[in-house]
Structure formats: structure tokens, C-alpha cells
């Protein structure tokens, strides 16, 4: 589903990363006109999968399809001289250029902000790189794992139980660096567009994936700095055991948080006020945390006789914060998400019908437009190039040169 927040705003996405693609997809969902520039060999996400039968196919990568709905796609190599000429024409006619090339490479290709703003004074250039466009680490090598581990969040993840080997800091799965980086870049791009609406001047926006992920620790930095103490996940967990408890059910886990006294009273009532409920070891939040090892099996004795969905609705029916530990498969069975329209089916000419997430907001009064599937490799090259005045014959020449 796409809306019309950024109607009339033209965006070029030229990158190889999940963050550039996700940033541009969010803007496309909000109504921007997005042209995705892929190298003639295709975006790396086309090779990343998941694929049906684990057989790679450039038009069937699930990750690529999910990240690129509602965009036009062209192939073009802006790093060679002929390709650069075409790219520059595109840049002249755009509002935003989202990219992930490193500063020194951009300078080498004469595509730095200084070069491009001479051609388009109102251009907003959004750079998304691992460490940003300045500072001593700007050329360092990174990956999803290394950036997540550097972000502090790996230590903030509440770590596993009493097994010391589980104390190793762990990254979050699901390409979270790219997703969080893209999300942050969308906010930055939006702010730059608002600023430009007032100043009429373009600008350069610098987003560092590392900083974007660091930011997810948020208030923790102030706590650490003022207390001069860096709490680790396991220390925090020791102090808060049972505040958010993951309990076994007969079909997975449920998470419950009867943290306040009134919530605890209602929770115990739900469990049928068992005799141990009046045990002084469990009299308040601090004691429950301290004696969690004794308390947890008593709770599981009850939860394990129910499904996670049952515990969820029973607890929520008594205003006790509780949620099932869903798997991605469970999401497609959720009545709440179905009624909300959290998923939509998009048909792709090669990959077929697949479920996609819809944006997490519902703008009252706006009529959403139906989604367009991710572009096939080079699907809109002819159309987009014709739009900037490149005639058929010239396009044939570029094709012969392997530039498009």
C-alpha cells in the first residue's frame, strides 16, 4: 500500500546495501517516485535469497522482492565514463540521491556532492555507509555482525539464563543493521526535504549505520555516563529477573510481565491462587526477582498446561501484560494482524504471489494506492531513459557497450 506524503518528490536509489533499498522503499511507500539504479549484473540482494527450493534466481530473491516494491528499476553503471554521463542527466532531474559508495570512490568517479551540486543546486544527497563520511574509521571494513557487536546493543540483549557459555554477546538476526540504518536514513531524508522546502537549497546528508544502531540503546547512554557504570545484559537481567518472564507453554513460550503489585495479584488469581502464592519469598517484586529460580517452575507448572495463545488472551483479559513468543509463521495466523491489514499479497510476474508487510501506520482519510511489485532487472530502463531525453538509438548504443 502506498500513500501520497511525498508526492512529486523524485528519488534515485543507487546502492548495494539493504539500508539504501529499505530507505528508498519507505519513501516509495509514502508516495515518492523512486528509480532504483542497479548495476547491469543486478543488485546483490538478487543473489541473497531466500529462494524457492534454495535455487538462486535473480527475479525470485525474497529479500530483493520485499525491499523493492513500488519502485522503478533501471540498469546503469555510473562508474564508467559513458554511464556517468547518463547518470548525471538523471541526477539533474531528481530531488534526492540515496547512495552507499564510500567518499574516496565517489571522488574518483567525480560523483561527490561538490561535483553534483553544480549541476543540481537543490539536490539532496543521502550517504549511507558503515561508519559515515568522516572520522578515522571511514574506510574500515564492516558487516552486519561487526556493526551490531560494535553498537553496544549486543551486550544490551538480555543474555541467556544461567549458562555461562551463553554470556557471549549476541547479534540480532534479520539484517537489523540494514533495516535500522534504512529507517534512520528515511527520517534524515525527510528532515532534509523539509529543510529544503524552506531554503530551496540542496544539502548532503551523512548517515552512519553504526551510529544508527548505537542509537537503539538510547537512554542507556545517559544512565551509563551519569553512573559511570556500564551494565551488561546479564547484570541487568539478574536485577530484573521475572520482570519480563519467558515461560514454557505446551506449544512454545509466552512472555508475561506482572511487574506491578496489582498485576501480580491478578496473575496469581488467574493461576487459581495456589498455596505458594502467599510464600513470603515471593511477597514483592524485589523478592520475586531474588527468588526467581524457585518461582519460575511454579509458574511454568501452570503455563505448560496451556498454549501460548491461551495464556496470552487469559492474561490480557485480566490486564496483565503478556504476549506469545510468536514465530514468523504465527504472524500469518494472527487475527489482530489480519484485521489490521498488516500483510498484503503482491503478485510479481516471475516470482508469483507473495505476502508483503504493509507500512505500520494508517493515515486517516488517505486512499492508499495498490502496490507495484519489485522491478525486474532493467524493467524500466527504456522508459526512464526516454524520460530524460535519451533516444532509442542512443539507448541501443549504451546497451551494446554494456552500460545499461
Amino acid at each position: 500500500m502506498s500513500y501520497d506524503f511525498w508526492k512529486g518528490v523524485n528519488v534515485i536509489e543507487w546502492g548495494r546495501s539493504i539500508a539504501t533499498a529499505f530507505n528508498a522503499r519507505m519513501l516509495a511507500d509514502m508516495g515518492a517516485h523512486v528509480v532504483k539504479v542497479e548495476p547491469p549484473t543486478g543488485d546483490p540482494a538478487r543473489r541473497m535469497g531466500p529462494f524457492p527450493d534454495n535455487t538462486p534466481h535473480p527475479e525470485k530473491s525474497g529479500l530483493f522482492l520485499a525491499l523493492n516494491t513500488n519502485k522503478l528499476g533501471i540498469t546503469l553503471d555510473p562508474t564508467c565514463e559513458t554511464g556517468r554521463t547518463v547518470f548525471v542527466e538523471l541526477v539533474k532531474a531528481t530531488d534526492v540521491l540515496i547512495f552507499d559508495a564510500r567518499p574516496k570512490d565517489l571522488a574518483r568517479w567525480r560523483l561527490a556532492f561538490g561535483d553534483l551540486k553544480k549541476l543540481n543546486g537543490s539536490l539532496i544527497m543521502v550517504s549511507i555507509t558503515p561508519f559515515g563520511s568522516s572520522g578515522p574509521y571511514q574506510d574500515f571494513k564492516a558487516s552486519d555482525l561487526t556493526l551490531f557487536q560494535m553498537s553496544g546493543y549486543a551486550r544490551s540483549m538480555v543474555r541467556g539464563e544461567s549458562d555461562p557459555s551463553a554470556k557471549v554477546p549476541v547479534r540480532a538476526q534479520g539484517e537489523q543493521i540494514g533495516m535500522v540504518g534504512g529507517l534512520t536514513a528515511t527520517l534524515a531524508t525527510s528532515m532534509a526535504l523539509l529543510q529544503r522546502a524552506a531554503t530551496k537549497q540542496g544539502t548532503f546528508v551523512d548517515v552512519s549505520l553504526w551510529e544508527a544502531m548505537c542509537m537503539l540503546n538510547n537512554g542507556g547512554y545517559a544512565t551509563t555516563a551519569f553512573q559511570q557504570f556500564a551494565a551488561t545484559g546479564s547484570e541487568e537481567q539478574a536485577a530484573n529477573r521475572g520482570t519480563v518472564a519467558t515461560l514454557e507453554t505446551n506449544d512454545g513460550y509466552v512472555v508475561v510481565s506482572p511487574r506491578e503489585d496489582d498485576q501480580w495479584t491478578r496473575w496469581i488469581a488467574l493461576l487459581g491462587n495456589p498455596p505458594w502464592a502467599s510464600d513470603p519469598r515471593f511477597a514483592n517484586r524485589q523478592l520475586r526477582s531474588k527468588n526467581w529460580d524457585e518461582l519460575e517452575p511454579l509458574l511454568v507448572e501452570w503455563t505448560s498446561r496451556h498454549s501460548k495463545e491461551e495464556v496470552y488472551h487469559l492474561a490480557q483479559g485480566r490486564e496483565i501484560p503478556s504476549f506469545p513468543m510468536n514465530t514468523v509463521a504465527d504472524l500469518f495466523r494472527s487475527e489482530q494482524l489480519r484485521v489490521r491489514g498488516a500483510f498484503t499479497t503482491i503478485e510479481h510476474p516471475v516470482a508469483g504471489k507473495l505476502p508483503h508487510t504493509t507500512p505500520p501506520y494508517r493515515p486517516g482519510g488517505q486512499q492508499p494506492r495498490p502496490d507495484e511489485p519489485a522491478p525486474r532487472l532493467g524493467e524500466h530502463t527504456e522508459q526512464v531513459l526516454a524520460g530524460i531525453g535519451i533516444a532509442k538509438e542512443e539507448q541501443l548504443r549504451l546497451r551494446a557497450l554494456g552500460v545499461i
Binding site: 538476526q173 534512520t184 527520517l187 552512519s208 503478556s322 510468536n326 514465530t327
Partner: protein, 387 residues
Amino acid sequence: MKPLEGIRVVDFSWVLAGPICTRYLAFMGAEVLKVESHRRPDPSRRGDGFQMLNQNKRGVALNLSTPEGRALALELVKKSDVVIENFATGVIDRMGLGYDVLKAANPQIVMVSSAGLGHTGPERGYAAYGTLIQAYTGWSAIQGYPGRKPIIGGAFTDPAAGTWLAGLIASALYRRKQTGEGAYLDVSMAEVTINLLAQPLMEYAITGAVRQPQGNRDDWFAPHNVYPCAGDDQWMAIAVTNDEEWAGLCKALGLELASDVRFQMALGRWKHQEELDSIISEETRRYTVTELFARLQRAGIPSGPCYDLAQINANEHLVERGFIHEYTDNRGRKVNIPSIPWQIESLPLPAASPAPELGQDTEYALREILDLTPEKIAELQKAGVLY
């Protein structure tokens, strides 16, 4: 000129997602009126985290349990551009400050209502904390180590939602500039996090496989893990994804394995990753994190130390970039903490003014924005409306 100069925000939100959103708006030049009362202070005031979450905002004390308090809130909305709230679903309507009322008072208002599961659907009224919501979204079930309980994973949903909310408000303001129309935006925090799960969702949709926790390992590549360094609880993340990086790693660590048949090609390394991890760990233990990081980066290996928050607050790269900057709170305490995670060249990185005391700007709001007389303000004070 700041992007949100001249924009005023009435902020009824509390704890994490809402305040993170309005902090970003404040850094971008909006005037944020954080509405609380002594009856209902932001619970995050209990800790120092509040100092980070509420910089550059004004504090307004309004007792929304009184009709006069609600009337004053509505008057502020008339003079504002954005309203944000994250009460439980339905609460703002019962307070008489729902979108219909606000729109009647100010047709151009942009109102954002954020709730755990959104404002429609059978489970809309369920009690939610951000941390628990990520269990609901499928995010938690893929975190942690194989064969163990999944990791709920700290407060991930709240800051992600806060970032999304701020971008959404900016987008609605841009649209308002073009069309003159205000907006009502119903946001589900759960759906924010579900949107960050593109890869595992598609994997299930396409292959039927339900992704499981895998620690720090990867589906295809090895070595891909964190390795112990000298000292206690010191770790280095290393991610090798091609033969060139593998050869570089062997050289950097003095390992004579580049031609070892077991570790040829990505598949060979992946199949023997247990062996590989123990061999590499033996070598990494010889170095401090700092020594090893420099050595690996010189060799072009994707790598990074597992930092804690104190190390991030002091990191040379982040300080040089200005991401880490100095902040002084209301009591004069100075610390180094993060600014915002993006830089706009034409906008110097904004300074952070102290998070407000509860109600420190009530008089400003009533006098300067609502034009109330000192007598009227004193009267409201006495009646417990400005509490």
C-alpha cells in the same frame, strides 16, 4: 535554518517510543511541549535515561484529570502543528482529546497516535510494553542461541518505533505544506518491528522454513563469530565472506591455514566452523581488543570490538564526528553522550539543552502561547490545574 523551525508539538507521550520521537523533532528545531503532571509524571523520570530522552524539550504541567486542564491542552493544540500520544487505545478519546475534537479545534493539526498493536482489531486494547511486543512480532523468537530459550532482546521496538514516528510526522508535515491538509496517523508499534523482519518473513513465505536462533553465526559464511581477546569479557567480531578475506585473516593472525584443504572456499570453512572458531580463539586471546582491531582492519578484514556503552561514549571516531557530544543537565553534571544519528551538512549538529524539570515551562506556555494573565495563571495554579 532548522527543518522544523516554527513547528510546535504538543507531546502527551511518555516512557520511550514517544519521547524518542519528540527528541528527534526537538533536535530538528521543533518546539516540543512535554505535557505531564505530578499526578502522572513520565515514569522514565525515575532514572538518568530521562536526561537523554528529553533534551531540548519544554516541560508543561497540566492536570489532564481536570476539565480545565483538558481545556487548556486543547487551547495549546489550537496553537500547535503536531500532537503525539501513546496512551492505551481509547484513553485519549475518553479524555475528550480525540482526533475529531482536535481537528474541529485546529483543522490542520497532524495527530499521531501510537499504540502497541494499533487502534483497530480485536486485540487493540491489550496491555503492551515495547519489550514484550517484540516477542509478539516474531523478532525475539529468532534471537539468541540454537537450542536455548530465545532472547527477548532489550528495548528494540521502542527506539525503532520512535524513529519511524518522527519520520512519519515529518512526512505528514511536508504533505500539509503541499495540500494544506492535516492528518491522523494510527501507528502500531508491533507492525514497526514486523516491517524490520523482511528477510525472515520472506524466508517463511517462500521456503516454509521458520528461522531459528543462530547466535553470531551465518547461513553461508565462516569464520563469523565473536572471539575472545585478552582480559575478561573482551570480544572481537570477525566476519569473513570471501577467500581474499580468509587469506588476509590467516596472515594477520599468523595462521598457516590459507592452503589447508579443510578450509578451502566458503563451503569448506562453513562446514568446519567449530574447528575454525577454536583455532582462531587461541590466537585472538593473545591480543587486546585495541591491538587486534587495528591489526585486522589493516588487513582489510570486516571486524569490530564488542563495545559497551561507556566505550561508545568515549570512542575517538564518534567523538571526532560529533555523534558523541558534551551534555550538561539541569544540575550542572557534564557527560559525553550521543547526539543524533545523522548529519545534515547545511545544519550544524544541534546542541542539547537539558531535559526539563516537570512543569518548568508551564508559565511560558500559558503566558506566551495562550496569552493568559498572571492572575488567571495563579488561579489555575491554586485550583490544581497546573499540577
